[in-house]
């Protein structure tokens, strides 16, 4: 809908004016912080060397190279939960072994059909066990997840691998390999097959890393509450991550059996090997897949190179692990990037400030919607469903014996702006959490329009049209500003251009490509607001949006928020201590004391109330 908006909004500029505005804005905008882009040199070298190995290496070393590919594939499988979810699964070897033995069990009798059945069963069971681990990680995380995965490793190792019928006993169970002689003998052909499989998988994972899926995965693992706040179904993400992880490890297991001709004996899938496999992604710095393959190659080559020195296998494994750990700390790609950016904090602050001012100048010059890209203007900015009110009735939240919120009624309709104030511990944030599903209310109901969302999980409420920010921004540190904003946004509609446009409007576009960890605190607050607004919320709940911000930044944020709220008509519920911001942003005000509402009404009436004055002067007031 181009031209004018419904409901008496301000006029939107025509396309001719848009070009002029874009030009002015471009001039005023500071240069973006440049970051190193993903380089293809290392992957090309790694895979070039791998391919050359096919023709250069003696035949027994092509077998070693095939083993390296299997190691790398297990490492790649473990890399996903490790990098995205920060979980350390210590069961990679057992899963690979499980797949290898199940594959060999079916494929031993020969025939393409049996082989395919073996692959399906091996990879399928491995994936299922891994998915079960993913579901378990919804309940136990961190150290407890690691130990739980160790229990799975021990369980498979001690129970499943002790079943001789499965493992084939001491002799193992042979798997049919293609029979070739001459230069392209069986070893080389097997290496070629394994190489092609690994290359295809690597390219797929690499491609996924370039998509928004990565942002969702990282947000799920690094900021669970942040993920909920953008409507990400965490359990789905975990199932997908662990499913893919299990799939890759399962394929590696099948390759282990195929490359060897017989699955390696159970000790090769023992707990020590799980740690060594886990060390592969750790040593690679967790971010670059090509270096992961490089590390896998080194891990395989070291024992071969040092074979003649008869080094104790424990000392060798320990050395490999130690090198991996040291390497992980010295070459962590994200940390290196952050360290480099931390050397120029003034530059980042300066850019953030200049960008904010440029955005503000643009607002003064032109109505906020006039700067929206054409794709957004084609969408009716006031969607028909934007008429629902968020209504909390008789909300109560109790922690142990403490009534944090006690019988509070709150209503925020479309276009309304309500501020909640009160001393620390008054129950403001708890009320927010109860309304948005982050804390289950012990009594009362929450409705969005006619929809009862009292029992709905947080992500479902966000998907219904509630947006929220947190007192301390819940952003994933290792993601960039843009990735944080785009996490959870639906693909393929106008939400992504909208997110980009909002970043411009809030003056954070110039910092879009740098990790959130190095951006100033005020910018992080803006990122969280942009992230919520990008989803076109019907009601936005913001928790202390200006605490820790400079005066100039407060004014800037106030102006942008008011302008946008007036234009789009969403309801706004704000918690804030800064009375200047409260009086600027809100029409209505609610004062809370000890979990209850002291008073509420039009902002001037509330501020004139003697009891409110007392609350702000710290005097004891009873409701």
């Amino acid at each position: 809908m181009i031209g004018t908006r419904r409901n008496g909004g301000a006029a939107v500029a025509d396309d001719g004016g848009q070009a002029a505005v874009d030009e002015t804005a471009a001039k005023a905008r500071p240069a973006r912080v440049q970051l190193p882009r993903t380089r293809l040199l290392l992957p090309a070298i790694v895979f070039g060397l791998g391919l050359a190995g096919e023709f250069i290496l003696p035949t027994h070393l092509t077998y070693a190279a095939s083993t390296a590919l299997c190691y790398g594939l297990v490492g790649l499988g473990l890399y996903l939960p490790l990098a995205a979810l920060r979980e350390l699964p210590l069961n990679g070897a057992a899963l690979a072994g499980l797949s290898a033995y199940l594959f060999a069990y079916h494929a031993a009798s020969g025939g393409a059909g049996k082989m395919i059945l073996g692959i399906l069963v091996g990879v399928g069971v491995c994936t299922a066990v891994s998915i079960a681990g993913g579901l378990a990680s919804l309940v136990v995380t961190g150290l407890y997840f690691t130990v739980a995965s160790l229990v799975v490793q021990i369980g498979i190792e001690k129970v499943v691998f002790s079943v001789g019928k499965l493992t084939g006993g001491a002799a193992g169970r042979g798997v049919a390999q293609p029979n070739f002689t001459g230069y392209f003998n069986t070893n080389r052909v097997v290496f070629l097959i394994a190489g092609v499989a690994c290359l295809a998988i690597t390219l797929t994972v690499w491609r996924v890393k370039k998509t928004k899926t990565l942002c969702n995965w990282v947000m799920t693992g690094h900021q669970p509450e942040g993920a909920d706040a953008v409507g990400i179904r965490r359990w789905v993400q975990k199932v997908v991550i662990f499913g893919v992880s299990g799939l890759l490890i399962g394929v590696a297991g099948v390759l282990f059996a195929f490359v060897n001709g017989t699955p390696p004996p159970p000790p090769q899938f023992g707990v020590i090997w799980s740690v060594i496999f886990l060390a592969i992604p750790i040593a690679s710095g967790l971010r670059t897949i090509s270096s992961l393959w490089f590390v896998a190659a080194i891990f395989t080559a070291l024992p071969i190179v040092l074979e003649s020195h008869h080094i104790n296998p424990n000392l060798l494994s320990g050395s490999i692990l130690l090198v991996a750990l040291m390497a992980s700390q010295s070459q962590d790609a994200v940390m290196a990037r952050i360290r480099s950016l931390r050397r120029q904090p003034e530059a980042i602050e300066e850019i953030a400030l200049a960008e904010g001012q440029a955005a503000l100048a643009e607002i003064h010059e032109k109505h906020v919607l006039a700067t929206a890209p054409a794709v957004l203007k084609e969408v009716d900015l006031r969607s028909p469903k934007l008429s629902r009110a968020l209504v909390g009735t008789d909300i109560g939240v109790t922690f142990g014996g403490v009534k944090a919120v006690d019988g509070v009624n709150v209503r925020v309709g479309p276009g309304q702006r309500l501020a909640i104030v009160g001393a620390n511990g008054a129950g403001k944030t708890t009320l927010f959490n109860a309304l948005t599903g982050f804390v289950p209310p012990t009594k009362g109901t929450v409705h969005l329009g006619d929809l009862d969302i009292t029992g709905a999980p947080a992500y479902a409420r966000i998907r219904q049209g509630i947006g929220r920010t947190f007192q301390l921004p819940r952003l994933a540190d290792i993601l960039t500003v843009r990735q944080n904003v785009l996490a959870g946004q639906a693909q393929g509609d106008d939400l992504i251009p909208r997110a980009e446009w909002l970043m411009e409007r809030f003056g954070i576009a110039a910092l879009a490509d740098i990790p959130i960890q190095v951006v100033p605190f005020g910018t992080r607050r803006k990122v969280e607001i942009v992230r919520s607004l990008a989803r076109r919320p019907e009601v936005l709940l913001i928790d202390e949006p200006v605490s820790g911000l400079e005066d100039e930044e407060v004014s800037e944020l106030l102006e942008v928020m008011l302008e946008l709220q007036a234009a789009e008509g969403w309801g706004l519920l704000a918690i804030e201590h800064d009375l200047r911001f409260v009086t600027g942003i809100a029409e209505q005000m609610m004062v809370m004391v000890d979990g209850q509402v002291l008073t509420e009404g039009a902002i001037n009436d509330v501020l004139a109330d003697e009891r409110v004055r007392q609350v702000y002067l710290g005097e004891v007031v009873t409701v």
């Binding site: 707990v271 750790i282 000392l315 750990l325």
Partner: protein
């Protein structure tokens, strides 16, 4: 599944289970001690246990030193290694805790390797500090002086550690560092000394565990590694924080293995570990959920 209980079998299984659990508990105490200071799971414990036992074996069996001197030698080496590991921990404050945990496992692998180099290339069992002979029969099981000694030592150490942590000023400092190391530093508590000290104590406990375990299971690094994994499971029951619950948890793991291993509930070959694995799985989930709930309340 076959269920067959003949006279005395159950009692014997329980006794075997309790003594197996005692062995796990000895290891668990070291794991809990080091976790209680800086929240790192010390997988260096099996390495120190093996190396401490190796030194004990070398001194007593090879060099002919008196058992007490050899015991002291093993414990001192354990303490020094534990302290060094604690010192390394202090240098790794920026590392993710999971990585530090893997680092401690690396140390174990090195110590396994060095033990392999010191020990003869055959399976060996050092002499028990409580003597290799003597004991009495309960039900169908012969209970040796070594088992009784290990059991009593374990209870004494558990009570002692619990007392130190809950009743002494040093224990209060350790708890303060565990809750919030930075805040503890601002109170003038020397963080570094305490971390190194507690890890050294954990090292001594590990070496003691190794010395008491190896006469039963031989001085095999991988057997002792598995003992430490079961011990970790036992200590997880208490959220890695309680010496008492770690002791009880380890006994439970041992009991489940004893009962299933004795064929009272016969599930088939290789499945005698199922009970212990189930106990461990329940423990991990219980502790993990409990921690999550606590974190929620704190929020």
């Amino acid at each position: 599944m076959v269920v067959a209980v003949s006279a005395g079998v159950f009692e014997s299984a329980v006794i075997i289970g309790i003594f197996t659990g005692t062995i796990y508990a000895m290891m668990a105490l070291g794991i809990v001690a080091s976790f209680r200071i800086n929240r790192v799971v010390n997988l260096g414990i099996p390495g120190i246990a093996v190396f401490g036992a190796t030194i004990y074996f070398q001194m007593s069996n090879v060099w002919g030193a008196p058992v007490l001197v050899a015991l002291l030698g093993g414990l001192v080496i354990g303490g020094v290694l534990g302290g060094l590991l604690g010192l390394c921990n202090l240098k790794m404050t920026e590392w993710p805790r999971g990585f530090v945990m893997i680092f401690t496992l690396t140390v174990s692998l090195f110590l396994f390797g060095w033990s392999d180099k010191i020990l003869p290339p055959i399976q060996v069992s050092p002499a028990s500090p409580f003597g290799d002979s003597g004991g009495f029969k309960v039900a169908l099981t012969f209970v040796s002086n070594h088992q009784i000694g290990t059991f009593i030592t374990c209870i004494v150490v558990t009570l002692l550690m619990g007392f130190v942590v809950t009743k002494t000023r040093m224990g209060i400092y350790v708890r303060a560092i565990y809750d919030d190391g930075d805040s503890a530093s601002t109170l003038g508590i020397p963080l570094g000394y305490f971390v190194v000290g507690v890890w050294a104590v954990a090292g001594v406990l590990a070496a003691l565990a190794g010395i008491l375990v190896s006469p039963r299971v031989t001085l095999d690094p991988y057997l002792i590694l598995f003992v430490s994994i079961w011990a970790l499971a036992g200590s997880i029951l208490g959220g890695l924080e309680s010496f008492g619950i770690a002791f009880v948890g380890s006994i439970l793991v041992g009991l489940s293995q004893g009962i299933l291993g004795a064929g009272i509930i016969h599930l088939g070959p290789g499945l005698e570990n199922l009970g212990a694995i189930a106990v461990v799985a329940v423990a991990v989930f219980y502790a993990g959920v409990k921690r999550r709930d606590l974190a929620h309340i704190q929020t």
